[in-house]
């Protein structure tokens, strides 16, 4: 038993971190704020070359690695706020259902087809990054289908929450071409939750780092605000949330790779629940530590806060995740 990152996993994380710092520095990303196409072709290819999409794919295109490595990679992507339908393209490449996904030639998005409402209000169908997509994966209880993105009847969302995640509203999703079974749909949802959890863990750490750095430099009453216990305790709680969620998301990933060590469904639901919570709560604390400036566009805290909400909205709702854990405990 060795639950620390292996040397290879550390090297992988460092490689992705370097790639993000070189290709996706925050100042560059921000030039695309509010655009309808945020994903650029070269950047997407660079991610593919680094193995982000194909690392679990088999055959000649893939590296044949596991969820543990994917979790490590997605944590870094979250930390660096890299935009785009990263998880959907990765899963499409992993399952081999969209040729060109692993190589970064096709940008793949995903959407959940809503179940029949039974007369209750249904949240709108929203597709991320539609303007950049080649293929859209439609996930529903009885399987996975593919729809050509260009055929969708979609309306751009005027003021999307995250300036780096453009959205389209869709009223109806076409039937599409069935490429996966109900079992594969369940697997997609589980793995999407774990990779979204990893993105959230990265966001939670990014916001912790930002808050700590600010608290060390900002002075009031003649000393750094980070010397006040009230501020220290906010930051300590951010670390507890981030480290706990990180351990949970790593354990979920390893449990998917090694199902004999636990219950993948319980581990994934728990990781998603805690990671989304960590990202959202750390967002709140990050802005609190920054004071008034945190509430403005002068500091980038809001970008991380908004991204956390985008990722959390892809997951099953917290109540459903918690009940899943309770039922399987």
């Amino acid at each position: 038993m060795d639950f620390e990152l292996s040397d290879d996993e550390v090297a992988l994380a460092e490689g992705v971190r370097r790639l993000c710092a070189g290709r996706f520095p925050l100042d560059d990303l921000r030039t695309a704020e509010g655009s309808s196409v945020v994903v650029d072709t070269d950047g997407w290819r660079a991610l593919a070359d680094a193995g982000v999409f194909g690392l679990r794919a088999g055959g000649d295109d893939g590296l044949g690695l596991g969820m543990a490595e994917a979790a490590v990679v997605f944590e870094e992507l979250g930390r660096a706020l890299v935009p785009g339908p990263l998880v959907a393209t990765h899963l499409a490449a992993t399952y081999g259902i969209v040729p060109g996904a692993a190589e970064g030639e096709v940008v793949v998005g995903s959407v959940e087809r809503p179940a029949p409402s039974g007369g209750r209000a249904v949240v709108p169908i929203v597709v991320e990054h539609l303007g950049a997509l080649g293929t859209l994966v439609v996930v529903e209880d009885d399987g996975i289908s593919l729809v050509e993105a260009g055929t969708l009847d979609a309306v751009p969302v005027a003021r999307a929450l995250d300036p780096l995640t453009p959205l389209w509203r869709v009223d109806r999703i076409p039937v599409g071409r069935r490429v996966g079974s109900a079992e594969q749909a369940a697997r997609w949802r589980r793995e999407e939750d774990v990779l979204d959890a990893s993105l959230c863990v990265g966001l939670a750490f990014a916001m912790l780092d930002m808050a700590v750095e600010y608290a060390k430099g900002r002075e009031q009453f003649g000393r750094p605000i980070g010397s006040f216990q009230a501020v220290k305790h906010l930051c300590a709680d951010m670390l507890v949330r981030a480290e706990t969620a990180r351990a949970a998301s790593h354990a979920a990933a390893v449990t998917i790779d090694q199902p004999d060590v636990g219950d993948p469904e319980r581990a994934s639901a728990g990781a998603a629940l805690l990671a989304a919570e960590a990202a959202n709560a750390n967002g709140r604390s990050c802005i609190q530590v920054h004071g008034g400036m945190g509430f403005t566009w002068e500091v980038p805290a809001h970008l991380f806060v908004m991204r956390a909400r985008v990722v959390a909205a892809r997951m099953r709702p917290p109540a459903s995740l918690a009940e899943t854990v309770a039922e399987r405990y």
Binding site: F3, K232, H233, T244, A247, V261, R266, V325
Partner: protein, 395 residues
């Protein structure tokens, strides 16, 4: 990252499990928490069984008479003990987890020969004399005075939160040998026999009604200078050395016990109908996710300790998260048993069915208040996390 145990680790587990299955039935029922002599007898008998089977001082280095087990083996050891509902260290806590390892690291060969074997065999019980009424979170403010007079230190002062004082043979005592304001630089570590004249013990009753710890009043107690571990005025460092023995396994038993408690609460909710309430299911599920995460964090800390010799940053993070989670679980327990939780004793249910185990739930709840206070309050832990891990400036 690998959560599978190696063949050697599984073999260690299998041997331990078989041994536990063979000996535990002979151990007899646990004594009343109010009967200290019986608790001492029970805990020390168990320690003797561990010693005879080669499991005593599992985490102690071999040169101290321990087994020198790897951090992962320690984890498995605690996991199997909890799984088998074996006793934990009980009154042997201070000797096995603190005083003993300190003497292993800092004692002379004579100290080791005198003090270590009786701890491992369950023959001598230790208590801890660190905190004082005026030195709690700020331990370096301690004022119990020791003055060298011939071959003895003459000790006068008072100590508090001394667990197992009534049944202890020795006390690991921190005393002021330097000047009044010498703080960390004027403290000395003494092994004080508890039968010396001038020691008065006043038990403190906790909110759950038992006397888990006591106040010690020391009036001119003559402790042989030969019982000093380490140099005079070097006691702070001597004390801190022991912390380096921590391998991230300090709360493993309690964490696993909390997981079992949550499963019991789930079953209880099923019996009372509370499970039909989605709010209850979500509280249970959330706490389950947190326990799973802390179990993952434990295995991470143990893995770090295996590689580096120390558990890294995880210990304080774990302590903070676990203490508060344990309190929330205990609140859920009280919410679930309702009026059945209004007594420390088991109250029968109306339909004549099996009891709701409310006594255990009430006991866990009552004891949970100490979680965020003992072994460093959560407020102090947050300062430590912020300053030592996040590098924030001292106030």
């Amino acid at each position: 990252m690998d959560l599978r145990y190696s063949d050697a680790e599984e073999a260690f587990r299998a041997g331990l499990r078989a041994w536990l299955e063979s000996v535990l039935p002979a151990l007899g029922p646990k004594p009343s928490p109010f009967d200290w002599p019986a608790r001492r007898a029970y805990d020390t008998a168990w320690q003797r069984m561990l010693f005879d089977a080669g499991y005593a001082g599992i985490d102690w280095p071999v040169e101290g008479g321990g087994r020198g087990a790897s951090p992962v083996e320690q984890l498995i050891y605690l996991e199997e003990l909890e799984r088998a509902h074996a006793p934990y260290v009980g009154v042997n806590f201070v000797g096995l987890l603190h005083a003993g390892p300190t003497i292993v690291a800092e004692g002379t060969p004579e100290h080791r020969a005198r003090f270590l074997p009786p701890i491992l065999r369950g023959e001598e019980v230790w208590c801890q004399g660190f905190s004082e009424p005026g030195a709690g979170s700020d331990l370096a403010a301690l004022r119990t005075r020791a003055v060298l007079d011939g071959d003895d230190y003459v000790v006068t002062g008072s100590k508090i939160w001394t667990s197992h004082a009534e049944v202890a043979d020795y006390c690991e005592l921190l005393v002021r040998t330097g000047g009044e304001d010498s703080r960390h630089k004027g403290i000395t570590w003494l092994a004080m026999p508890m039968d010396l004249p001038g020691i008065e013990i006043r038990p403190l009753k906790t909110i759950v009604g038992s006397t888990e710890f006591a106040e010690l009043f020391l009036d001119g107690v003559r402790v042989p200078a030969a019982n000093r571990i380490g140099d005079e005025n070097d006691g702070w460092r001597v004390t801190m050395v022991t912390l380096s023995f921590e391998r991230g396994t300090a709360f493993v038993g309690e964490l696993l016990q909390s997981m079992e408690l949550l499963r019991e609460l789930r079953a209880l909710a099923g019996r009372t109908g509370a499970w039909d309430d989605p709010g209850v299911r979500r509280r249970l599920g959330h706490m389950g996710a947190e326990l799973d995460a802390l179990w993952a964090l434990t295995r991470r800390n143990v893995s770090q300790a295996t590689r580096t010799g120390v558990p890294g940053i995880g210990g304080s993070v774990f302590k903070l998260g676990f203490s508060e989670l344990r309190q929330r679980i205990s609140e859920l327990g009280m919410d679930l048993v309702g009026r059945a939780g209004l007594s420390w004793d088991e109250l029968p249910v109306l339909d004549g069915g099996p009891p709701l185990a409310n006594a255990e739930i009430v006991d866990v709840w009552g004891n949970s208040f100490s979680r965020t206070i003992a072994a460093g309050t959560s407020q102090i832990q947050r300062n430590i996390v912020a300053e030592r891990i996040l590098g924030m400036p001292k106030g």
